[in-house]
Each structure stands twice: as structure tokens, then as C-alpha cells.
């Protein structure tokens, strides 16, 4: 049984993750996203009164799912449909997540992690556990079926509907009844051993076995003929008949009594254990079929549960969100796109940017320090990551191509000290990115190659960006390497697929944190900053 809430035809796995995802997480501030997804926003009416306790599982689920990009528009809309169902029926996804968590907690207390695979261990204790696990599975699946039946008509997403149908098929009424019969027949074993009844007469079942004498007259080739727990309560005619037949079919019958407390009695109990063990192990196909299911269900439900939390956090800051659209490779356009990580961290509604970069494969952003260049680049990166895992995007609208090969190469200010060790590391990282480029690649460069002189850095940046662009890689770069930007600007042709943006700066030096179409800025605005921070202090 598969959950298939994340993909139409596969479960979540660690395959196909972003390359060196820890860089992406750090560069785009995704830790904050994971964190926000793990905490409920608790409201009283309109007012937010508190944040819930962080749920580490939600956090790790977001990390797992978000770091594996989807490959095409079909996969993305499969998740989007489910997610918008969840937005509409928040109570359902909350219940689904809570329920699957409960199942696993209960299973953990039965030693899931210790043995991992149910139905294969060989001690009476483990056998009892397996019986309980079997019981847990049967109960849980019955409950899950009920939950789906309750919300059935209101869930429109293909993913939910298909899962409901699979559940009814793979955990059919017939299977459910058979399992309940088996559980009734072996329940005595769990009860006996748990209650520690030793001296008292126990209502044991009659077990009938066929065997032959092989390998030096040892008992072998067993066949389980009958397990009859209820025989002592009432004797139904059918069982009387089969009993009579048993006696008649044998040519001779011999009675061996097994006195209590002897080795024989202990061995007879082993035989009984083996019979119950055998029955439980026969249920293994059922256990195996649902073994991974609850784990996957919890993980997958957690992703949507986290997304609902994220939605609440956005709503709290009045950050609007949308269902993003998938376009061709050269499409990138958005309205009022916001860097919501900053919004959540600083508890305010950030400035939005609107752009249409359709047909552009290289974007070069220059301009004022502290003007919002990096924030802008991060907002695009964040949106791209959210879009590529089926999440909502913090914008009025967002449309982009799909780039499963997505890379960030950010140099943070504090890193930019000039030393060859750092440049070596930067180049090494760039080279690893080149090794991992694919057919649909997007690279975000933020102040790359800053750890050398402007002149050298510009040459390196020029060579690399040019080669990447010619290889069909989409490059978005924020740079202070003005000779590099200027050279690109000078070399552009009519209908060029290169676009230049600049952080807007008003005449009075005030920044609006909006990007505008602009030729590369040739003056650095460090002086402005100097004026602002130091200049006034000493002039006044």
C-alpha cells in the first residue's frame, strides 16, 4: 500500500535532492521556513495569541520534501491540488497528521525501531509484540477508512481520491474479516504470557499438526491443520465432525501424556509458540504491505500540515500568496513577490517586487548597497524552491520555468576577505556546480568571486557567466564587479536575452528596496553608507 500524496506514482525518497542542499538552505534562509512550518499559529478570533510548540517532525519533513525538486508541471499541480484541498479542509489534514503520528507513536512503544521489521523475530516477547502490531495495523486501517469516508465528497484532489480507493481495495472487507478471525485465534497467546498465568488452567486451543520423520527421525515438514480456541466453550457440529474424522483417518492412535514441569512440557510449549509464530509470520505480506505505509503517510501528511502552518504565518504578516504557474524555460514573471523569510523573522510585511523577465536567460543586478539586491535575489530563489516542491509562493502571481538543477553560489559579506584560500574554496564550489549542471539548470550568484581583486574577479565572473549562459544555463546574479557588469552591458545585442536591474535609489540617497530596469551602476554607493553612518555623527 502506498500513500502517494507527494507523487502520483512514487513515495518520498532521498533521491534526486538538490545538489549541496546545505548551501541552498543557508543562502536562502530556509531554516526559518522549516521552523515556521513546525509551529502552529494560535489565534483567538482574529488575534494571534501565541505560537505552538515546535514539532520537530514537521520541521524534518519539510526539509526532506522541499529539498527534492519536482520534475514537471504535472507533478507540481498534483501536489498543488492536494494542498488547496488541505487549505479548504484544514481539519482533515490536521486529523490525518495527528492520526498517523499516533499510530507510529503506538508502534514505537511496541518496539518498532528496535526490530524495525515486524513478523520476523524469535522470542515469545517479540511474538506478543508482533501480535499487538498486527492488531494496531488492523485497527488503524479501519479508522483511516472511516476518516476518508467522512470527508470523502469534499476532497477533490486526485491524490486523496486515489488513496481512498486503494485503501478500500488493498484493505478489503474480506481481508479485514480474515485478520480479525486470526487475531481472535491467537489472542490467547498474548494474554497468557502477558498476565503471567502459570499455575492456573488456561483455555488453550487445540492445535493439530501433520508431520513426517526426516533427517534422522526428527519431526519435519509440518502442516498446520487446525487451531481451535473456542472448542471448550461450545462444540459446534462442524468441529465435532472434523474431530471424528481425525480419529478415523489414523490407522493407530497413541496417547502420550505430558506431565507439567517436565522438559517435554516446555518443548510442547515451544511447539505451540512455533505454531503461533508461523501464523503471525504468514501475515507478513500484510504487515509488509503496510509497514512502510504509515511511515510514508505521516511524512507526507506532515508536508501538507507544515504548508498549512506556513500559510498561517504568511496570513499573520499579511503576506499574500498564490498558486504559482509552470511556464517554459525562458519564462519568469511575478507581481508583488516578497521575501517572506525576512517577513517572518522581522515580523513585518516586506516590500514586493514585480518584474517580467520573459525571454531573458541572464539577469545582472547591480546598484546601491543596502538597497535590497540580495533580498530580491533571495525572494526569487525562495519562490523557485517553493514552486518546485508544490508549495504556495509569497506573491500575487508567480510564473516560472522548472529547474530541478538549481544552485546557489552566495558570498556573504563577512566571507569576502581577500585571501586565496577563500577564492580557492569559491572556485572549488563553482567547479562542483559545473559538474552537476543538468538540462534544466538555474544558478543564483550573489556577490561571487569577491574574495579577489575587482579586476581578477571580473575576469573570472565574465568567463564563467558567459560559458554558463552559452551552455543554456539560466543565471541570476547580483554583483558589485562593475567591470564585469559593464562588459556584459557593452556586449549585449539587439533583442538580447540579458537583462539588467538596479536597486532603486532616490535623488536624496533614500532606498525604496525596489528593483528597476537600469544599466549597470558605475558608482559604488559605499559613500552613501559612509555618509549615513559616520558622516553625520561627526559633522553635527
Amino acid at each position: 500500500m502506498n500513500a502517494y500524496l507527494l507523487y502520483r506514482e512514487k513515495e518520498q525518497s532521498a533521491e534526486g535532492r538538490y545538489f549541496e542542499e546545505k548551501n541552498i538552505i543557508r543562502d536562502l534562509g530556509l531554516e526559518t521556513v522549516f521552523w515556521a512550518a513546525s509551529r502552529d499559529v494560535i489565534r483567538e478570533g482574529e488575534k494571534v495569541i501565541a505560537l505552538g510548540e515546535p514539532d520537530p517532525f514537521l520541521e524534518s519533513a519539510m526539509r526532506k520534501v522541499m529539498m527534492v525538486p519536482l520534475m514537471n508541471a504535472g507533478e507540481i499541480s498534483y501536489r498543488q491540488e492536494i494542498l488547496w484541498d488541505c487549505f479548504a479542509e484544514e481539519a482533515f489534514i490536521e486529523e490525518l497528521y495527528r492520526f498517523s503520528t499516533e499510530v507510529l507513536t503506538c508502534w514505537d512503544s511496541l518496539g518498532r525501531k528496535a526490530g524495525d521489521k515486524a513478523g520476523s523475530r524469535n522470542t515469545p516477547g517479540a511474538l506478543i509484540t508482533d501480535i499487538h502490531v498486527l492488531q494496531l495495523f488492523v485497527t488503524s486501517l479501519t479508522r483511516l477508512k472511516k476518516l476518508f469516508a467522512e470527508y470523502g465528497n469534499r476532497l477533490r484532489a486526485e491524490g486523496f481520491r486515489a488513496m481512498h480507493a486503494r485503501l478500500c481495495e488493498e484493505f478489503s472487507e474480506e481481508l479485514s474479516c480474515s485478520l480479525e478471525r486470526i487475531l481472535r485465534e491467537i489472542a490467547f497467546y498474548a494474554r497468557d504470557h502477558e498476565e503471567g498465568i502459570t499455575g492456573k488452567m488456561v483455555n488453550k486451543p487445540r492445535i493439530v499438526l501433520g508431520c513426517s520423520l526426516a533427517d534422522g527421525l526428527k519431526m519435519a515438514d509440518f502442516r498446520l491443520e487446525e487451531v481451535d480456541t473456542e472448542i471448550k466453550k461450545y462444540r459446534n457440529p462442524a468441529s465435532m465432525l472434523s474431530r471424528a474424522q481425525n480419529y478415523l483417518s489414523g490407522k493407530t492412535k497413541i496417547l502420550a501424556s505430558i506431565p507439567r514441569g517436565t522438559a517435554q512440557a516446555a518443548q510442547a510449549e515451544q511447539l505451540e509458540f512455533a505454531a503461533v509464530r508461523y501464523i503471525v509470520s504468514c501475515c507478513e505480506p500484510f504487515l509488509n504491505a503496510f509497514n512502510g505505509f504509515f511511515v510514508q503517510l505521516r511524512l507526507q501528511a506532515a508536508f501538507y500540515r507544515g504548508a498549512v502552518n506556513l500559510k498561517h504565518h504568511m496570513e499573520r504578516m499579511d503576506i499574500g500568496f498564490c498558486r504559482p504557474g509552470a511556464g517554459e524555460q525562458d519564462v519568469l514573471r511575478f507581481r508583488e513577490l516578497k521575501e517572506f523569510v525576512m517577513g517572518i523573522e522581522q515580523r513585518r510585511n516586506p516590500v514586493g517586487n514585480s518584474c517580467c523577465l520573459d525571454g531573458k536567460n541572464l539577469l545582472i543586478v547591480t546598484g546601491a548597497n543596502q538597497g535590497g539586491k540580495s533580498t530580491f535575489l533571495r525572494s526569487v530563489g525562495l519562490a523557485q524552491i517553493c514552486f518546485q516542491c508544490g508549495l504556495q509562493v509569497a506573491a500575487e502571481s508567480f510564473e516560472s520555468g522548472i529547474f530541478p538543477a538549481f544552485f546557489t553560489h552566495f558570498t556573504r559579506r563577512e566571507d569576502s576577505a581577500m585571501n586565496s584560500g577563500r577564492l580557492d574554496e569559491e572556485l572549488g564550489r563553482m567547479s562542483r556546480i559545473v559538474d552537476n549542471l543538468g538540462g534544466q539548470s538555474m544558478v543564483l550568484l550573489n556577490e561571487s568571486f569577491a574574495s579577489t581583486t575587482e579586476k581578477e574577479g571580473s575576469v573570472i565572473a565574465y568567463d564563467i557567466v558567459k560559458a554558463l549562459k552559452e551552455a543554456g544555463v539560466k543565471v541570476l546574479t547580483v554583483t558589485h564587479l562593475l567591470s564585469f557588469a559593464q562588459r556584459m552591458y557593452d556586449e549585449r545585442e539587439e533583442d538580447s536575452d540579458v537583462e539588467f536591474l538596479s536597486a532603486q535609489r532616490m535623488e536624496d540617497g533614500r532606498r525604496t528596496f525596489r528593483m528597476t530596469l537600469h544599466a549597470p551602476e558605475l558608482t559604488s554607493f559605499g559613500l552613501d553608507l559612509y555618509e549615513e553612518i559616520i558622516g553625520t555623527q561627526f559633522s553635527g
Partner: protein, 504 residues
């Protein structure tokens, strides 16, 4: 019934003086124990001793090579492998017979062991019937086996063993367990719980395994049930006890020896197939009768290195007429020792009558292999170590001076503890000694001075590539290519040109 035939061994027509000896001295030097260990692991049974059984002469090598060619031909390997499986089963039965305590159990295991013995050789004979065998060894064995199986005594023994095992195996019991008693009956029960389980879980492949299966003896419960059952069915087990008394000793020594020795060919064949699957070549070598022909190997490699899964570089070698000794020099860790080992292995597998680790090869009839590798881990240093080295060397030099001997000699880094000057003189004397004897070989050294003008010496060199990296190629002496340098960007392969190439 014809007259009684004789058959000695599938490894040699006559008893060789090497049989049962400790393994030859060159074994560990050539890393052959690593190869044999791998062969043993692949085969899954002990065969190491068979690889220590070194042939006494060329006739023995030829005898084995013929058998190995039969093993490689269509059909024989599978038949022999099936035979080995059956014999293994028989050995297990024998082991059980020895461990169990109850006399009745012993007797039952014995009947089974004899039946497995009869079946194994019976099936082998049937399998060999239609095969066209080219080797003397296999043909003579087949004749011997047929005669043995047709013997009166064997036929009666087989019939009896089959009858008794059939009787016991055909028995079915029904046990009804009700808290403090068990009812035993003979026959089939009418229940169907197994069928119900099968219907619920069509995929399940579980067997009801006896909880007492791990214990070869009868546990108390089994003994108790058997005792009760036997009271009413006495005649059933008497035959087994009678058989045990009558056929205590029943095997044929030559057949048992064949069964253990045939593993030599089968284990190597299996190993060879595995290695071929991984892309390594093996060749059926040509035997060179005259030293006027050139000894050669194409694509020769170190089989021990190949077994270890590390990267392996193959080399060609040839010793032309009048060329006697290689002198191999070159950088450290450049593949010198590996090449020397691969040459020694080439000769070993050739002499053992097996295929050699190369694409093609032609080899002289050497009488023995002698190796001398300096013992790195020896606690001795300086003069003590040199003394020990010289003593071992003296043995090899003496062996090469014996009449009729034609040695293959592998010498690796002699006199590393001596001064350069001394080492050169001693090395030269050693080489002169071997050049004056009937032998071939290789001398690995860091001393370039030993490459000589003597026409019997061939200079080899472990090569470097243009960047100064080791290539592990061994070639007839030539100079190394010069080394080039690169910048930081270039080193990360990030110049425009490099990127164009990487991204194309």
C-alpha cells in the same frame, strides 16, 4: 564384469613427491595465497591444499591441462558441480551421524549417507556417459567408475539403502496437542488451516519450521513421541539397524580421492568465470618446447590485485631468443613489484596446468619457480637483514646450478640496506650468476646502474605520463615525459575554454 581397473588421481597419473607438502616458498611472495583465498571463497569449500600440490614435472602439467580443457568444454563442469553438491550433502549426513547420540538415529543417518553416496556416483556416471572427453584423466576415471558401479556388491547396497530410506520418508503422522497431552496417529489429518492462511495471504512463503530443528539429537519430546510410536510399529526401524551393522565400511578410496581433488579444476573454473564477468582475461597458454621460441604474454596482470578490486593495469611482455633476464627500474609505487608478481603468477598457473591471467601467452617448461622478496616487516635491519637476504639468495643460486633445472626467478629489491656502491657490485654478481645458468627471470631494483650491456639482460621501466603521474605501464626502457603547471582557475577547470569543453 571385466577385470579390476586402477585409477590413482585426477591431479597426477602417479604419486608426486609434492603431495601433502607445505606450500612452496614463493606462494606468499607472489601473493598467491590471496588469490587462492579468493578462489576458496568463491567455491565455498576448502581447496587450498590442492593449490599447494605442485606438479613434479611437465608431464603432470600436461595431464592437468588436458583435464582442465575438458572442464571448460560444454557440459562437464555442470555435471561435476552437481556431483560435488551431492557429495557435500553426503558429508553433512556423515557429520550428523557422528554427532547424534541415539543408536537408532545413527543408523538412520548412515542409511541416508550411503544412499547419497550411491546417488552421487550413479548420477555422475550417467552424466559422463554421453560426453566426449579428451583427457586421459577423465577417460580413465570414467572407465573405472563404470566398472565399480556395475559390481554386484554396489548394486545390492544401493537397492537396500533406497528401500529403507523410502519407507521412513513415506511416513506421515498427525499430532493433536491439547494442553497436557499429545495424540499421535499415522496418516493425514483432515484440517485445512494452512489452506485458509494461503488464501488470506497468497504472497506468503513461510514454512512451519520445527522448533527443534537446530538440535541434531532428538529432544525429549521427540524421543517420547517416537518411543510411544515405536511400541506399535517395531518392524519399521529394525532394517535400518541391520543395514548399519552390515555396511559400516562401504566407500572406494580412489573415488573418494577423486571427489576431493576434482574441486581443484572446478574451483578455478568458477573463479575464472567470475573474473571474466568483471572484464579480466584468461588464456590457455601455449607450451614452448624449445627455448629458441620467444616466451610472451599479452595483457598480463596481477591476479591478486584484480581479486582485491583495485584498479589493474595490464602489460605485455616478451623474452626473445637469447634474452634471459629483465632488469626493471622506475619510480616508487609505479607498479614494478606488481609486474614482477604477475610474471611469477603467469608461470605458476601455467605449471599448475590451469589458464593464465593474460590475453595470450606462450611459456617454457620451467622446472620450478624461485622468488626473493625483501622482508619489509623483518625486525632485522642493517647487517643482520643483509645476512638473511644473502642466505636466502644462496639457496636460490644453488638450486639454479643443479643439473636439469630450468628455474623461473623473481627477485625484488635486493640489498636495500647495503650502501649503493656495494649493492651495485653484489647485484651485478647475482645477475652474472643467473645469466650463466639455464633460467629466466626478472630483477626489480631502484639501481639504474644495473641495466647492463649484456645481451641477456633486458631493461624495463615503469612509466610516467605527461603530468608526472604514474601509469603503471611497464615498457622497454624509455625516458619519462616532462611535467606541466596550471593556475588556480585552471586547476579548478574553470577557464572559459575548459568550461566550454566541460559543458559541451
Amino acid at each position: 564384469m571385466g577385470e579390476k581397473l586402477e585409477f590413482t588421481s585426477i591431479l597426477d597419473r602417479e604419486e608426486s613427491p609434492w603431495r601433502g607438502k607445505a606450500f612452496p616458498a614463493f606462494f606468499s611472495d607472489l601473493n598467491l595465497n590471496q588469490v587462492i583465498e579468493r578462489i576458496r571463497l568463491e567455491w565455498g569449500e576448502e581447496v587450498t591444499g590442492l593449490y599447494h600440490y605442485f606438479p613434479a614435472d611437465g608431464a603432470c602439467s600436461d595431464y592437468r591441462r588436458e583435464v582442465f580443457r575438458d572442464v571448460k568444454a560444454e557440459g562437464l563442469y555442470e555435471i561435476l558441480r552437481g556431483f560435488c553438491r551431492e557429495m557435500k550433502e553426503r558429508r553433512e549426513a556423515m557429520g550428523r551421524k557422528e554427532t547424534v547420540k541415539a543408536a537408532l538415529q545413527k543408523a538412520v543417518w548412515h542409511v541416508r549417507e550411503v544412499k547419497l553416496y550411491c546417488d552421487a556416483f550413479g548420477n555422475l556416471s550417467a552424466g559422463l556417459q554421453g560426453l566426449s572427453l579428451g583427457s586421459r584423466g577423465m577417460r580413465e576415471f570414467r572407465e573405472y567408475l563404470e566398472a565399480y558401479l556395475a559390481g554386484e556388491g554396489f548394486l545390492r547396497m544401493r537397492q537396500e539403502a533406497e528401500r529403507i530410506t523410502g519407507q521412513i520418508e513415506g511416513l506421515r503422522l498427525v499430532l493433536t496437542y491439547e494442553s497436557d497431552r499429545i495424540i499421535i496417529a499415522q496418516g493425514e489429518a483432515a484440517g485445512s488451516y494452512d489452506d485458509f492462511l494461503k488464501k488470506c495471504f497468497p504472497g506468503h512463503k513461510k514454512q512451519f519450521v520445527s522448533p527443534f530443528g537446530a538440535e541434531p539429537d532428538l529432544v525429549e519430546l521427540e524421543a517420547e513421541l517416537l518411543k510411544a510410536f515405536r511400541k506399535r510399529n517395531q518392524e519399521l526401524f529394525l532394517d535400518a539397524e541391520r543395514f548399519f551393522a552390515e555396511y559400516g565400511e562401504y566407500t572406494d578410496a580412489a573415488l573418494i580421492r577423486f571427489a576431493s581433488e576434482i574441486g581443484f579444476y572446478l574451483s578455478f573454473y568458477r573463479f575464472e568465470q567470475k573474473m571474466k564477468g568483471r572484464g579480466f582475461s584468461f588464456a590457455d597458454p601455449r607450451t614452448l618446447e624449445s627455448s629458441c621460441e620467444e616466451m610472451y604474454a599479452k595483457g598480463l596482470y596481477d591476479l591478486a590485485l584484480a581479486c582485491s578490486g583495485r584498479e589493474v593495469v595490464a602489460n605485455d611482455m616478451v623474452l626473445r631468443r637469447d634474452e634471459k633476464f629483465y632488469v626493471l627500474t622506475g619510480p616508487n609505487q609505479g607498479g614494478k613489484t606488481t609486474f614482477a608478481r604477475s610474471l611469477g603468477q603467469l608461470v605458476y598457473f601455467f605449471m599448475m596446468g590451469l589458464d593464465v591471467p593474460a590475453e595470450a601467452a606462450g611459456i617454457y617448461r620451467f622446472t620450478n619457480i624461485m622468488t626473493h622478496f625483501s622482508v619489509e616487516e623483518s625486525v632485522e635491519t642493517g647487517r643482520g637483514k643483509l645476512r638473511e637476504e644473502l642466505e636466502r639468495l644462496a639457496d636460490i643460486m644453488a638450486a639454479s646450478s643443479r643439473g636439469n633445472s630450468f628455474l623461473f626467478v623473481v627477485i625484488n629489491e635486493l640489498f636495500t640496506t647495503a650502501a649503493n656502491y656495494d649493492a651495485c657490485i653484489m647485484g651485478r654478481r647475482v645477475l652474472e650468476h643467473f645469466l650463466g645458468r639455464e633460467c629466466r627471470g626478472i630483477y626489480v631494483t631502484h639501481l639504474k646502474e644495473l641495466e647492463g650491456a649484456d645481451p641477456g639482460l633486458v631493461s624495463l621501466r615503469a612509466m610516467l605520463d605527461g603530468q608526472g603521474n604514474r601509469t603503471f605501464r611497464i615498457e622497454r626502457s624509455a625516458e619519462d615525459a616532462p611535467v606541466s603547471a596550471g593556475s588556480l582557475v585552471g586547476r579548478h577547470r574553470l577557464t572559459y575554454e575548459q568550461l566550454k569543453e566541460r559543458l559541451s
